[in-house]
């Protein structure tokens, strides 16, 4: 494949021959769109009339006071239509799907946010839609499944493999191999074969571009640090990309520390031992794998971070040390979420709460002149079943029990 498919040692397009023409086609369409002056305005116009871009950059006065360190700002991707940054990428790919003249889209989803976003885009663009979602995630993100179906999508629970996000990706690839003439695969994160990492980053870069304008306007100064959670890496690349050239801005990617890095039950590919470069799902990157190259089981309380690979662009930025990678455990995340809710009245998604957890840990050590920005990639409503269980809420339990009893009657 061509050179721009690689980021240092990572990236590429390790795909079955059957998909090659399609991927090449997508690359061509994407390149044409990117160099068409009308395309970005069309995209950002759509995002401001259908979703609510630019999303606000909220000053978190209470958290700033609480930690009495850096001034804390929160980028509010949770306010997007469908509740997360995923819609940015999806609407962009929707425009490309239209340019390709295809009438069907497929997608994988973990947290369900990408699935809901894709189902939404499909409704808006009048496309057929099939969503692959691991059985585990169908269970833990049931509300999102319900909405996908109501939006007109077919949701297929994937029971193969480790039943997490990667297995949903494999299934989507298999579907694509059979139906690429009519079907575009709307990959949900900055992973997969070229041109997906570049394309998803391109659409998500709207986040960082806005942050740059917003922070310069309100503070006339760049932030010292930017925190983003890292699943596949799309929200992180989205907010980081506008600051890559600014050496003074430290970029911090927060992975899923799960039950603790030492337990092996996590999804930390860049900040923990146990991940190595490898090739799977169509691209080369750091994967959590055993000596033979078989992918390991991952764990995170956040379905959207429970993934074995990571954006090849981030792998490269890891090796070059431009981005610092670290992890937050499930417990850190619940605590951070609680604090964010009670201090600022915001409800981060479990994924996003990873970024909050690290920012909270580090904010006190910074000075009051410094600014940090946390990317709130999504809202936590979708996580109610998980969070209610994490808080072990007795009223929620009896509500569910009563509700179930009605169904038995």
């Amino acid at each position: 494949m061509n050179d721009n498919a690689y980021y240092g040692r990572y990236g590429g397009a390790f795909i079955p021959e059957i998909l090659r023409a399609t991927i090449k086609d997508l690359e061509r369409i994407f390149d044409a769109a990117r160099s068409d002056d009308t395309f970005w305005p069309e995209f950002s116009g759509l995002m401001s009339s259908y979703s609510c871009r630019p999303t606000p950059l909220t000053f978190a006065g209470n958290l700033t006071g609480h930690f009495s360190g850096a001034r804390i700002y929160i980028k509010r991707e949770d306010l997007n239509h469908t509740g997360a940054h995923k819609i940015n990428n999806v609407m962009g790919q929707g425009l490309l799907t239209r340019r390709m003249g295809k009438n069907r889209v497929i997608a994988e989803t973990g947290a369900g946010q990408h699935g809901v976003a894709t189902a939404t885009m499909a409704a808006k663009f009048g496309l057929d839609c099939t969503i692959y979602m691991s059985k585990t995630d169908v269970l833990r993100q049931r509300p999102n499944v319900f909405w996908m179906e109501r939006l007109g999508a077919r949701v297929i629970p994937v029971t193969s493999g480790s039943r997490t996000l990667k297995d949903a990706i494999n299934e989507a690839m298999r579907d694509w191999s059979a139906h690429m003439d009519t079907t575009h695969y709307v990959l949900g994160t900055a992973c997969g074969p070229h041109p997906f990492p570049a394309m998803v980053t391109y659409f998500q870069s709207i986040i960082g571009e806005e942050v740059r304008t917003q922070i310069l306007k309100s503070e006339n100064q760049l932030p010292s640090r930017i925190y983003a959670c890292v699943g596949g890496g799309s929200n992180a690349m989205g907010i980081f990309s506008a600051f890559l050239a600014d050496d003074s801005v430290e970029l911090v990617g927060v992975e899923a520390g799960g039950k603790g890095l030492e337990t092996g039950q996590h999804a930390a590919r860049l900040c923990a031992d146990g991940a190595r470069a490898g090739v799977a799902q169509g691209y080369k990157t750091y994967f959590l794998q055993d000596a033979d190259g078989q992918m390991k089981k991952t764990h995170s309380i956040a379905a959207g971070l429970d993934y074995v690979g990571v954006s090849p662009i981030l792998s490269h930025l890891h090796d070059t040390r431009r981005v610092r990678f670290t992890a937050a455990t499930d417990d850190d995340v619940i605590a951070a979420m609680e604090l964010a809710m009670q201090k600022e009245g915001i409800i981060p998604a479990l994924e996003s709460a990873h970024a909050f957890a690290l920012a909270f840990k580090e904010a006190p050590a910074l000075s009051g002149d410094e600014i940090i920005v946390i990317n709130q990639s999504g809202r936590g409503d979708k996580d109610i079943f998980t969070i209610a269980d994490a808080f072990d809420d007795p009223k929620w339990k009896s509500f569910i029990i009563d509700h179930a009893a009605q169904y038995h009657a």
């Binding site: 494949m1 590429g12 397009a13 390790f14 795909i15 079955p16 021959e17 059957i18 998909l19 090659r20 023409a21 399609t22 193969s160 493999g161 480790s162 990667k166 494999n170 690839m173 298999r174 191999s177 059979a178 139906h179 690429m180 003439d181 190595r276 470069a277 490898g278 090739v279 799977a280 799902q281 169509g282 994967f287 794998q289 000596a291 033979d292 190259g293 078989q294 992918m295």
Partner: protein, 253 residues
Amino acid sequence: MLESYLRKRLENKKILTMTHMVMGYPSFEVSAELVDTMVAAGVDLMELQIPFSEPIADGPVILNANQRALATGATVAKCMDFAGRMADTHKIPFLLMSYSNILFQQGFGPFTRAMAVKNLAGAIVPDLPPEEGADYLREMGAHQLAPIFIFSPTTPGDRMTYLDSVARGFVYCVARRGVTGTDTEFSRSMDTYLARCRRHTRLPLAVGFGVTAKKDVDFLVDRADIAVIGTQTIRLMETKGMGAVGDFLTALT
């Protein structure tokens, strides 16, 4: 050399058969028995798949076989041993089939050296196109192993020519869109497609599709050189046992 073996064999047979199996599924013992059965039934060459956790080009039947093999302890080392034993015991050529990461983690050098030592003939790696496979091609070449590449109905002519230029042994033509294990209709368009494949390579043509009866194999005569039987034997073994596999293959050849 794989190609010359195939050409020689084709002098006496109108069409050859290649079978596929996942090593270690359901166990290495059964895998060995399966190879015996297949060779006894007259197959001309075999693909031995090293199971991988993410087999994106495979459909549900082979996917399941990969997972079960891994779950019951198949490792790359055991698979290499097994493949070596088969190549030593049986006269037909054996190819390895797996995914990029298996080779990548061993290193292309060590992997191909081991293949050579164990007398394996070549490899099929569906997620390793030549553009991503410079190291692979170099090492396969150095050890005189055949890197098998794939033509698909979506592959344009100029790319077929390019693939032909790096391929050795034969070219594997997938007969339709999709992953392994889905049925294909025999149709005019298949005729056209196979003629196009033939025009673009000097190598023998293998064709994989849902072969379930002798007439399917017969259809390929003159149109291709090797009929590939993949998913169907696994299905038979799972549902009717080893004997049924032997009967099925014997009836085909």
